[in-house]
């Protein structure tokens, strides 16, 4: 620690701190543009010049390290003169078009110009004009306003992991741009809008729609991936028109993924269901709530009466709130059904009944950043949990060793230490090799089932990295959890973690992947899991917030079973033609923005939020709809007056973190002998197709990440089939689909990668398994 003085106030700060950090600690504001606590120091805007005793020149507070006894003056004559000088330079080529600038009212330059600018400029020469760039569907540019602080450039290079923006040319001609003709395609691009201190980079979807002071704002929580990023949801006339990050260092830091930021457009989709609808005599009719609820309750009661409660299945979206999931399972159980599941994309449920508790991340999200050795097993991390990928990217830079075991080798934009890429059927065996190698390195007795394994060089390299010291973490991604031998991967992962004495966990796929367990939205006893209730068709289904054809592991089969059912009651914010085909009644329920509720994130953190906007049309919060359904069906214990009451019952109190989190499992004999003949399908869930809300966000649907699915194979597989890139491929699963062939050099042999959750590939059926592939 060193002692310094800022504006006459003495304080102790950590060695190596900069003046601006010290001032921040003291609550002293130093004007700045290029400085950002999460980015490298550029010291180029020069706005933060301050006076330092004994220094002949003003010093940049962002870049000047404190020294013991240093005296800093942030508002002395010298400092203010320097700051005003810089402000004058910043403004001479700035267009001063605040009245037509989207940043107006929330512009750092505008704010600081009030304090440090003159009322008129002495600059009477010609002003600079900089051509705008097309950065894609999300970020709009007005480059003449750019003050060249380079925050955006540093963000792409340092946080997003790939330098998509640069500063070309020099001097006064310097301009920020992507490589000629390129757009900014990172899944984190929207953060550029927040980072830009002026109106050079603004939100394309939000552009020209409102002034900041016209907006109402509410804190909220992201309904998408398992992190539960904190949001500020902004509305105008009860319509969500912007979402910004709410800084939470423990979760999303100051970032949001594009999905979290721009999915709000889906809230205003034309496909919003705004009135209850029932199908009568094959025709859909909009009806009053009373009629619809009556219809729904009768339908369910009839099936329960005739066929027993077990004839009803509940497919619940893990993006639903804790309260919704809790009431849905309570309703179904009240009807005598144990067929309840929110793990819609899972295919191996053999761990059910063997788990000691709720599977979770196994550590705090912030602790992921502290891991020194990481193995990611079966994870499309950059697209599935982008902000966790961001954390590991920073970890790798500070020296953490990150390794990957997966069936694809997408560039995570993280410096990897080792990797093993194997077909899905081989993943358990390779993970077992890693376990064996680590046990050998650590002198731990390995599971006898591993005795016959030969450790490959790749597995050995991963093992050596993991065993080389520091805190380790084994993290199973969405792909591993959706894997046909997910339970084996689970057991092996735990064995590995225990041999290392490190952490083990699951990366939460959805906002309530953990919350679903807590809400008991999983089957018990003889109840059917999500796959089973699709494989063995039910007479009736309750679908909550999901589109099973896109959200289930086997969409084709799900659709078939739903179509055959006597009654499908769907609680949904959206309607689709598919839904109209299979459903009997559609109940319009609120998306996250129009209801109060709770998400329990992947680290078990309980995050509740209020509605940010009034429900659209006749939409009602799902918890209220379920409560009324409970009452109508005479299920006991349905007398809730608020979502808080539901939450309290579901959680047994008001904890910050849920209890019962435990990744332990009674592992039976390991099954490592799986083999596959023919092409194994590797299915990713593209980032902008993962849930019903994001699928309906138009700007995101134009992003590069939303490209139509292709049949991706490595070069030798393409050659084997006589295919060229772009040529047609027929992929046969449950049914055949024709796709364009695409080269993906990172894929292993014997694998075809076809994205799931997309209408173009639903017909294929199961996400995991063997498919036929041939030239079309």
């Amino acid at each position: 620690m060193v002692e310094i003085e800022i504006d006459g106030k003495t304080l102790q700060v950590a060695d190596g701190s900069t003046i601006i950090e010290a001032a921040h600690q003291l609550g002293v504001y130093i004007p700045h543009f290029c400085y950002h606590k999460k980015l490298s120091i550029a010291a180029n805007c020069r706005m933060c010049l301050v006076q330092v005793e004994k220094a002949p020149k003003p010093m940049p507070a962002c870049a000047t390290p404190v020294t013991n006894g240093m005296k800093v003056f942030t508002h002395s004559e010298l400092a203010v003169k320097a700051q005003k000088a810089v402000m004058e330079f910043l403004l001479i080529n700035h267009p001063l078009d605040c009245p037509i600038c989207d940043q107006g009212g929330e512009c750092q330059l505008q704010d600081l110009a009030v304090g440090y600018g003159e009322s008129a400029s002495k600059y009477e020469e010609e002003k600079r004009v900089v051509p705008d760039k097309n950065l894609g569907p999300l970020v709009s540019t007005d480059m003449t306003r750019c003050i060249n602080c380079t925050r955006c450039i540093r963000f792409t290079a340092e946080i997003a992991g790939f330098m998509e923006l640069g500063q070309a040319f020099r001097g006064e001609h310097a301009e920020v741009m992507p490589f000629i003709g390129k757009t900014v395609d990172t899944e984190l691009s929207g953060n550029l809008i927040d980072l830009c201190p002026v109106g050079a980079l603004t939100s394309k979807p939000f552009r020209f729609s409102a002034r900041t002071w016209e907006l109402s704002r509410r804190k909220s929580v992201s309904p998408h991936d398992g992190l539960g990023s904190n949001l500020i949801v902004q509305t105008k006339h009860d319509r969500v028109i912007r979402v910004l990050p709410l800084e939470n260092e423990d979760i999303n830091e100051c970032w949001l993924t594009d999905k979290e930021r721009f999915s709000y457009q889906g809230l205003n989709s034309a496909e919003r269901l705004t009135r209850p609808m029932v199908k009568q005599g094959g025709a859909w009719k909009e009806v009053d709530w009373n009629v619809a609820l009556d219809y729904a309750s009768h339908a369910l009661r009839d099936v329960a009466k005739t066929h027993g409660g077990g004839a009803i299945g509940g497919l619940l979206s893990p993006h639903s709130t804790l309260e919704e999931l809790y009431l849905a399972q309570k309703l179904l159980r009240g009807l005598g059904s144990e067929n309840i599941d929110c793990r819609l994309r899972q295919s191996d449920f053999s761990a059910d009944g063997k788990r000691k508790g709720t599977p979770w991340l196994g550590m705090k999200i912030a602790d992921v950043s502290r891991l020194d050795r990481v193995l990611l097993v079966g994870s499309f991390l950059r697209k599935d949990q982008p902000l966790l990928a961001q954390r590991l990217r920073q970890s790798a830079k500070r020296g953490a060793q990150i390794s990957v075991l997966h069936s694809a080798d997408d560039d995570l934009l993280i410096k990897l230490t080792a990797r093993a890429i194997a077909s899905p059927s081989q993943l358990p065996a390779v993970l077992a090799q890693i376990v064996k190698a680590v046990c050998a390195l650590k002198g731990v007795t390995a599971d006898p089932a591993l005795a016959g394994l030969t450790v490959s060089a790749e597995a050995q390299a991963i093992a050596q990295s993991l065993a080389s010291g520091g805190t380790s973490g084994i993290l199973l991604g969405n792909f591993a959890q959706q894997h046909a031998q997910a339970a084996t991967l689970h057991s092996l992962g735990r064995q590995l973690a225990s041999a290392l004495g490190g952490g083990f966990g699951f990366l939460g796929e959805a906002a309530n992947s953990v919350g679903g367990y807590v809400a008991k939205a999983v089957p018990t006893g003889a109840g059917l899991n999500a796959a089973a209730m699709i494989q063995s068709p039910r007479q009736a289904y309750v679908v909550l917030g999901a589109e099973p054809e896109l959200d289930c592991a086997d969409g084709a089969k799900a659709l078939e079973s739903l179509s055959k059912a006597a009654a499908v009651v769907v609680l949904t914010p959206f309607k689709s033609q598919t839904m109209l085909d299979y459903a009997a009644v559609l109940l319009p329920v609120s998306p996250f923005s129009e209801t109060s509720g709770t998400f329990v994130n992947t680290e078990g953190r309980v995050q509740s939020f209020y509605a940010a906007a009034k429900p659209l049309g006749e939409t009602r919060p799902a918890w209220k709809v379920l409560r009324v359904l409970g009452n109508l069906l005479g299920v006991t214990g349905f007398d809730f007056n608020s979502s808080e009451e539901v939450r309290t019952e579901a959680l047994g109190g008001q904890p910050e973190f849920v209890s019962g989190l435990d990744n332990a499992i009674d592992s039976g004999a390991l099954n490592l002998t799986a083999s596959a003949t023919g092409f194994e399908r590797v299915a990713d869930v593209p980032i902008h197709f993962a849930d019903p809300l994001v699928r309906r966000a138009p700007a995101l649907q134009q992003a590069r990440d939303s490209a139509a699915p292709a049949a991706r194979m490595n070069a030798s597989m393409l050659a084997k089939l006589g295919l060229v890139e772009g040529g047609s491929v027929r992929v046969g699963g449950a049914a055949a689909v024709t796709l364009a062939a695409q080269l993906d050099t990172a894929l292993p042999d014997g694998v075809v990668r076809v994205a799931a959750a997309h209408s173009a590939t639903v017909a294929l059926g199961a996400m995991a398994g063997v498919v036929s592939v041939e030239k079309a």
Partner: protein, 163 residues
């Protein structure tokens, strides 16, 4: 094309490899300036595709290579004539006729700075200090050949030499 850098000849790639070898193994990007010069020599100028090819070969972000190509002013981001003449007009040269030499060339070729003759033979550029002020006026031919004491006779001789 198998690789993004196939557009560069094996000879050019071999030259780039020699440059790469000068730097530590994990610092290939250090060779980007030389590599862009080699590519420019081969292609005549640096198109978007050429810059992308160099970036791919050195494993760097294309925009990082573009930053370099646009920062240093001897890279040509537009096609130039067969002979690019760069005349230094900075003060020490100007004191000994640098500006006049440029004017003389302009008149002879009928072009201004940053223009190319209709036959595609000459492009004229205004240069900054070349570090040869004692030889003023100086000019560069195609970036690599320095011509000293460029008084009218010498300029006439040079232009005649350029076939």
């Amino acid at each position: 094309m198998n690789n993004q850098y196939d557009m560069l000849s094996p000879e050019a790639l071999a030259k780039i490899d020699r440059e790469v070898a000068k730097y530590p193994a994990d610092q290939k990007q250090s060779a980007v300036m030389a590599a862009l010069v080699i590519a420019q020599d081969e292609k005549g100028w640096l198109s978007q595709e050429t810059i992308a090819a160099v970036a791919a070969y050195l494993g760097m972000a294309p925009v990082a290579a573009y930053e370099v190509a646009s920062f240093y002013n001897m890279y040509d981001l537009q096609p130039v004539g067969k002979y690019k003449l760069t005349v230094c007009t900075n003060l020490p040269c100007a004191l000994s006729g640098g500006v006049h030499a440029a004017d003389y060339v302009k008149e002879k070729l009928g072009i201004d700075f940053n223009e190319t003759t209709a036959d595609g033979k000459f492009t004229l550029k205004e240069g900054e200090c070349m570090g040869a002020c004692g030889d003023a006026p100086v000019m560069l031919v195609n970036n690599k050949r320095m011509c000293s004491f460029m008084l009218p006779e010498q300029i006439d001789k040079l232009l005649a030499e350029c076939k």
